[in-house]
């Protein structure tokens, strides 16, 4: 029983470390280049797709759980994973796999953003 709690706690530590490390790398890139947030998001997502395409990212997900899936690379991992699984069913599966895997995230982003945009109004940015 105690060992189980310790396992859960350890998983949190790993998620914190890996997720934090990915963000720290992104911050380092922002500090030394003039990349904006959009560019960072695209390249990190692509990194996730490539790493999962090579079959590497799965190990990171197994190791760190949410620490690897919550950063945007996890979105790329999801896309690539869906496409790979679809490819086992044929060419049509390879074509639909990526977007089907990401459908929950994209739908949620669109629906919640729409609702929030209706509820809230833009506030002047105070610095």
């Amino acid at each position: 029983m105690f060992a189980e709690y310790l396992d859960v706690l350890f998983m949190f530590a790993k998620a914190f470390a890996v997720g934090g490390l990915i963000c720290a790398v992104a911050q380092l890139i922002i500090n030394f280049t003039d990349w904006t947030s959009g560019k960072i998001l695209v390249y990190f997502m692509l990194a996730g797709v490539v790493l999962q395409g090579l079959g590497v990212y799965q190990y990171l997900v197994d190791f760190a759980g949410a620490g690897a899936t919550v950063p945007i690379c996890g979105f790329g991992y999801l896309l690539a994973n869906g496409a790979i699984r679809g490819a086992q069913k044929g060419l049509f599966g390879a074509f639909t796999g990526a977007l089907s895997a990401a459908s929950a995230g994209v739908s949620a982003a669109v629906i919640f953003s729409f609702i929030m945009a209706l509820i809230f109004r833009s506030r002047s940015k105070k610095n």
């Binding site: 859960v8 949190f12 720290a24 998001l41 690539a80 982003a109 919640f112």
Partner: protein
């Protein structure tokens, strides 16, 4: 002024302006990004543990965690809290999936005044559009490669 001169002049001017910038604290920035990014991932891990206890697993579990985090991201963006976090956390608030939600929600709120179609809906994908474009493109390429390799 010739083109070459103008270029030099601009370069000198930019160097002059930059000399008044406060120095970038690389270590401090990265530490903040590490802390905030790690914390958001821990919230995701917390959702995972709770939902697992409710009997979810596999794709359903991962999808529900993403949806919950995206909901939190859009809500905090609407309340104006996320911008305040982002000012201090930098990449720590950009890279997690909540940052993706923020990049969808924030322009939607901002351009609501330009109408529901060309404002809210069109501007929603200013940042998220490229992510989906290159995500679908690269993901499908991976899928087709795997299909070709059997």
């Amino acid at each position: 002024m010739t083109e070459k001169n103008r270029e030099n002049y601009n370069k000198n001017y930019i160097a002059y302006v930059n000399s008044f910038d406060p120095p970038t604290h690389h270590f401090k920035n990265c530490l903040r990004a590490f802390g905030v990014g790690g914390f958001i991932c821990c919230i995701g891990q917390f959702f995972r543990v709770v939902l697992e206890a409710f009997g979810l697993s596999g794709d359903e579990l991962a999808g529900t965690v993403s949806v919950l985090l995206i909901f939190l991201g859009t809500l905090l963006t609407g309340l104006g809290v996320y911008d305040r976090i982002g000012r201090n956390a930098g990449a720590g608030s950009i890279v997690p999936i909540t940052g993706f939600a923020n990049s969808v929600c924030s322009p939607a709120i901002e351009f609501k005044t330009e109408g529901l179609i060309y404002g809210l809906a069109a501007k929603m994908f200013v940042v998220a559009g490229p992510i989906i474009v290159y995500g679908v493109l690269s993901g499908t390429i991976v899928g087709i490669i795997y299909w070709l390799l059997g």
